[in-house]
């Protein structure tokens, strides 16, 4: 396939994706599948596997959206690799055969764009804010960020190297709260697990994580979180083995149908 041909193919897919998005916008989620099926007759038919590298915090929603995408494009399989955004970015730069990258922070996406491994500019598709995660029933009566600095309270934060940790640092700085955590966890799920097991009294995690674990965890909102919002960018990758599939998936994630699933899980629209 020559490069001009490929470019035509990309623009055709982009047009198709736009049509899908619009279709979903106008007529709700149930009809979007049929809308895309009819328009895919004109565009190059999608096939094969779309491999998506996505941030761990997207696991629940993206697994769901992957199934919906497969239903909308029969013959296409979506394969996910969920993990820490930073390590995913590292493996993409090192040549992992991925089609799409969805990161939990612009900084981790930058690793990929700096290496010229993204096709086009990344698009922010959702935002995530922090919440204080406390054991069910909030036994220590934590109501604000300042309460976390109280004596005798054990708090887990994410390490500053991972997105949730840098967001937590920003929030604490905004609220001028001087907090010494007992541990700096390697990812947000680990910080949440420490609350779940009762080893710490609170931790700063994403709203979506609290919502996904609402059976065992309660969330406490705090105003400083507004200053520490994490943008989630998504991009098709330059060396994607399945160029058409990658573009279609990126467009689908930005569709109204996908947004509905994401906001229902606690994400905010950009």
């Amino acid at each position: 396939m020559t490069s001009t041909m490929r470019r035509t193919a990309i623009s055709a897919v982009a047009a198709l994706a736009l049509a899908t998005g619009l279709g979903a916008c106008s007529s709700g989620s149930s009809s979007s599948a049929s809308a895309s099926a009819s328009s895919s007759a004109a565009a190059p038919k999608l096939s094969g596997t779309v491999t998506v590298f996505a941030a761990a915090s997207l696991q629940g929603t993206f697994t769901d959206l992957g199934k919906k995408f497969e239903a909308a494009y029969p013959g296409v399989k979506v394969k996910f690799n969920f993990g820490g955004s930073s390590s995913l970015a590292q493996s993409i730069v090192s040549g992992a055969p991925a089609d799409v990258f969805a990161a939990a922070s612009p900084a981790t996406m930058k690793t990929v764009t700096d290496a010229k491994d993204a096709a086009g500019d990344p698009k922010v598709f959702v935002r995530n804010t922090l919440e204080i995660a406390v054991p069910k029933g909030n036994p220590k009566h934590i109501a604000s960020l300042k309460d976390l600095a109280g004596s005798g309270l054990k708090v887990a934060l994410c390490a500053k190297e991972v997105p949730c940790g840098s967001a937590a640092a920003t929030a604490l700085k905004t609220g001028d709260v001087n907090l010494t955590p007992v541990t700096l966890e390697q990812d947000v799920k680990a910080a949440l697990t420490k609350v779940e097991l009762g080893e710490v009294d609170a931790s700063l995690v994403y709203r979506t994580d609290v919502q996904a674990d609402s059976g065992k965890i309660d969330g406490v909102d705090f105003p400083e979180a507004a200053k520490a919002v994490n943008d989630y960018p998504i991009a098709a990758l330059a060396k994607a083995p399945n160029t058409n599939g990658a573009a279609a998936f990126v467009a689908y994630i930005q569709s109204a149908e996908a947004r509905q699933v994401l906001t229902a899980a606690g994400f905010q629209a950009p």
């Binding site: 590292q90 390490a159 190297e161 007992v182 541990t183 700096l184 390697q186 097991l197 009762g198 080893e199």
Partner: protein, 283 residues
């Protein structure tokens, strides 16, 4: 084994040295040599990769932060303490497994080696469930003595000992099985109690095995990551050992991670190479 010096003395010795040389070269068949070299390359190449990718020019800057040396110090202290703890309870455990016969011994033996196959993260969670603040024993430790092990340096030692002790137990048990029990029986006939026989006869007999096991356990403890970060958490100066520092550096700055790994490698190779001749001499 040093190569025989080539001699051109009497004809009969010349012949015998030639046959010896032929036998020695015949001792390394290609069917063994090739996979051996492949195995060596497989183990060494990744290390060479680290050296090639190492940011030599920025290395001094990368290693100047106090956090690095704190992590290294903590790693060495905790690995040594974990080895000490393993020796204290692991050697008697190995003796029990090798020298006594009780029902369910094979099952117990399998249980002892369980941490070898258990993913260390699972081991860390298991430790939390027992020794954590809400754990079966941890709750009691907390209320009776005010001791909380997670997020404390002692937690790191426990996590590392949990993962490393099976290595010690297995090699000491192997040494005990290889050692002739008749020496102990002889000591017993001369009036030594079983404890005295263990102390004066068995221990010196299996010292090389204990040494080898201790080195293995120390090496395993030094590289421990999963159980440590799960059970003891990660806080600089308190529970952040080198492997944890490397992992987190990898998240943001791979060059820093490589620099840290080089330090850990240099220290480990120095210690292991220094100990090997003394302790790991193959029986």
């Amino acid at each position: 084994m040093s190569p025989a010096p080539p001699t051109a003395a009497a004809p009969d010795t010349a012949v015998s040295s030639r046959t010896r040389a032929r036998r020695r070269s015949a001792r390394i068949p290609y069917a063994l040599l090739l996979p051996a070299l492949l195995g060596l390359a497989f183990l060494v190449l990744p290390l060479a990769g680290l050296l090639v990718r190492a940011p030599w020019s920025s290395l001094p800057g990368q290693l100047s932060s106090t956090e690095v040396w704190e992590a290294l110090r903590l790693s060495l202290i905790c690995a040594t303490a974990a080895t000490g703890l393993s020796l204290l309870v692991g050697v008697p455990l190995a003796w029990l497994l090798a020298r006594t016969d009780f029902p369910g011994r094979r099952f117990i033996r399998a249980l002892v080696t369980l941490p070898l196959v258990l993913p260390p993260v699972v081991g860390g969670v298991a430790l939390l469930l027992v020794l954590g603040r809400n754990g079966i024993i941890g709750r009691w430790l907390d209320s009776a003595f005010g001791i909380t092990l997670p997020f404390h340096t002692s937690g790191v030692v426990l996590a590392e000992a949990f993962v490393a002790m099976p290595f010690l137990v297995i090699s000491v048990e192997g040494a005990l099985r290889a050692a002739d029990p008749r020496y102990e029986e002889a000591a017993a006939t001369l009036g030594a109690s079983r404890l005295t026989a263990f102390r004066r006869v068995t221990l010196p007999l299996i010292a090389p095995g204990i040494g080898a096991g201790a080195v293995l356990a120390w090496a395993r403890a030094l590289g421990e990551f999963g159980a440590t970060i799960t059970f003891a958490g990660n806080f600089p100066g308190q529970t952040q050992t080198m492997p944890l520092a490397v992992y987190l550096a990898m998240e943001s700055d791979p060059e820093a991670a490589i620099a840290l790994s080089l330090v850990l490698l240099a220290v480990s190779i120095t210690v292991l190479a220094g100990l090997r001749d003394r302790w790991m001499s193959t029986p």
